[in-house]
């Protein structure tokens, strides 16, 4: 291989990296322009290619009837989902990583099945079930469905996290005067906490982004995604873009917060 083909190969490589980064970032930038422009600009033609830093669209969004409630609902549902999916999923992840027990294979199958199933479809019968139990159109009811959605991930991710902590550390703690519980809180928990946080954030985003079940299960207490979906045909452009922007911001923060764990958790969850 001579120097010329090598340097042209390097150029091609760098160019593709830059191009692929642009492919991700440019659409986001365009959304940002729309969000930070006045409603008049958003609806005008042609569009400028830099933002005018006008908060008109955003304040219109904030003032739009029901929008802030929807935002609050979204945050509430996602927070509940986050707490429930970790509280319910993490013990199972621990059991999978630490014990061999009859029925383990069956249990893993149930978890994988849940992951492979188009879950939002279950929103339909759940709607009926919720009406009977009075959970219909409540934030909590939706959070239950989103937890179902997030649980396979929280089980598999915590499973791989716990597997990364040698059992000897726990055993050492037991011989040093700990019970199973204190060994867990004093040794395992401090080591696992960052990973648990990452998987909790993952659950938050699963709920935050979910559209179908949210639209099916809520009527008065719409979440942001459901609200935007419902008003897609009728709402003005600047409202859509501001709403889309508000949906995107947590994603940026989320990926940044969990970037260290993103790959580790998939690496093991694969097997």
């Amino acid at each position: 291989m001579n120097a010329e083909t090598r340097s042209s190969g390097r150029f091609l490589y760098t160019a593709s990296v830059v191009l692929l980064c642009a492919w991700v970032i440019v659409p986001l930038y365009l959304l940002l322009i729309n969000t930070l422009s006045s409603p008049e600009t958003v609806n005008s033609f042609p569009k400028p290619f830099w933002p005018e830093f006008d908060l008109g669209s955003l304040s219109f969004f904030a003032g739009f009837e029901g929008m802030l409630t929807a935002l609050k609902n979204s945050i509430l549902v996602a927070a509940m989902t986050m707490v429930m999916s970790i509280a319910i999923g993490a013990p199972a992840g621990y059991a999978l990583s630490r014990f061999d027990f009859p029925g383990k294979g069956l249990f893993r199958l149930l978890i994988l099945l849940t992951r492979a199933f188009p879950l939002p479809l279950l929103a339909l019968p759940l709607a009926v079930m919720f009406i009977r139990t009075g959970l219909d159109d409540t934030v909590f009811g939706l959070a239950l469905v989103h937890t179902t959605l997030a649980i396979p991930f929280s089980v598999l991710i915590t499973f791989s996290l716990f597997s990364g902590i040698p059992i000897e550390l726990e055993e050492a703690a037991w011989t040093l005067g700990c019970t199973r519980l204190t060994a867990f809180t004093k040794v395992v928990l401090p080591l696992i906490l960052p990973g648990i946080t990452a998987s909790a954030i993952f659950a938050f985003v699963i709920s935050w982004n979910e559209v179908f079940a949210a639209a099916v299960l809520t009527i008065e207490n719409r979440t942001l995604t459901a609200f935007l979906l419902q008003n897609l045909d009728t709402s003005p452009l600047h409202l859509k873009f501001a709403g889309g922007f508000i949906l995107v911001v947590p994603a940026l923060i989320f990926i940044f917060a969990v970037r260290k764990y993103l790959f580790a958790m998939w690496g093991i969850a694969n097997r």
Binding site: L31, F212, V216
Partner: protein, 281 residues
């Protein structure tokens, strides 16, 4: 606490939860789908499949999956191999490339709406370059091809990241020695990719494809944001049966049809990419 029962106690909450919110509603969907006019029947299925929109939405969903998934696979593989070669800036590039992972399909639809709508950026650019004199309404029934393209682009843009993450994690599990050995035996980079990376990556490819294909059949919000009623898909029809037509039985039947397609494709992928026993890393 007896260690024999502890694991069962620990998995009890998840099991109960999934039975209540996954298995039970699943049985309800099945019941509702096969129940019509006061008895068991396939009427719901006959109704939905004989509706004039069904073949269109079925074809659209399939076409979209067929167009989007292979491109995503190729892109994800390309990106994954590129980052493994990268020395500096790897974390930053990976961060940028995985941003769409956290973005919902609805938000992605809205983002691409900003580009394709009549007063959007594509039109602004084209008129700036003098290609068109008046803004074109791309997302209308005069331009079905562009509607399809916009939806496909939005999907590719949004959902390549999940495959990328799975593949990068999978490549990370392949011991470096294999590559070094192959290099010693004189394998070119391309040979190393096809002879080592691809075969050893099979479990990850399997996971990535299954997950992606299932999600592809569930496509809904992107279409709603970009195509609206111009581009019917299966999931959108299900939503319409439930809400606009208030026909729960039909919606349930649609749901089961989507499920059947998902299972069929999952099995095909698992079979095509199966890993021979004992041939894992």
């Amino acid at each position: 606490m007896n260690a024999r029962y502890l694991p069962y106690l620990l998995i009890l909450p998840v099991t109960l939860f999934l039975c209540l919110f996954f298995l039970y509603p699943f049985i309800l969907v099945a019941q509702q789908a096969f129940y019509a006019d006061g008895g068991w029947s396939l009427k719901n299925f006959q109704d939905v499949t004989s509706h004039w929109k069904f073949p269109i939405s079925f074809r659209n969903t399939m076409l979209l999956a067929a167009a989007v998934v292979p491109v995503q696979l190729a892109l994800a593989l390309l990106m994954a191999t590129m980052v493994t070669r990268m020395q500096k800036g790897r974390d930053l590039i990976l961060y940028v490339w995985t941003i769409p992972l956290g973005i919902s399909d609805l938000a992605a639809g809205i983002i691409w709406l900003a580009i394709f709508e009549q007063s959007g950026f594509l039109n602004s650019m084209m008129s700036g370059l003098g290609v068109v004199d008046r803004p074109v309404n791309f997302l209308s029934y005069q331009h079905p091809g562009i509607v399809f393209l916009a939806i496909a682009l939005a999907e590719i843009w949004r959902a390549t990241a999940i495959m990328l993450v799975i593949l990068v994690a999978g490549i990370g599990l392949i011991p470096k020695e294999y590559y070094e050995a192959a290099e010693v035996f004189g394998a070119s980079p391309w040979k190393r990719f096809t002879r080592i990376t691809l075969p050893l990556l099979r479990p990850s490819l399997q996971t990535a494809l299954v997950l992606r294909v299932i999600l592809a059949f569930e496509i809904f919000a992107v279409v709603a944001a970009l195509g609206g009623t111009l581009f019917p898909v299966l999931m959108g029809e299900t939503y319409a049966y439930q809400f606009d037509l208030l026909n729960g039985g039909a919606a349930a039947a649609m749901a089961l049809i989507i499920l059947a397609i998902s299972i069929a494709f999952t099995l095909i992928i698992m079979r095509a990419l199966r890993v021979p026993k004992g041939a894992t890393i």
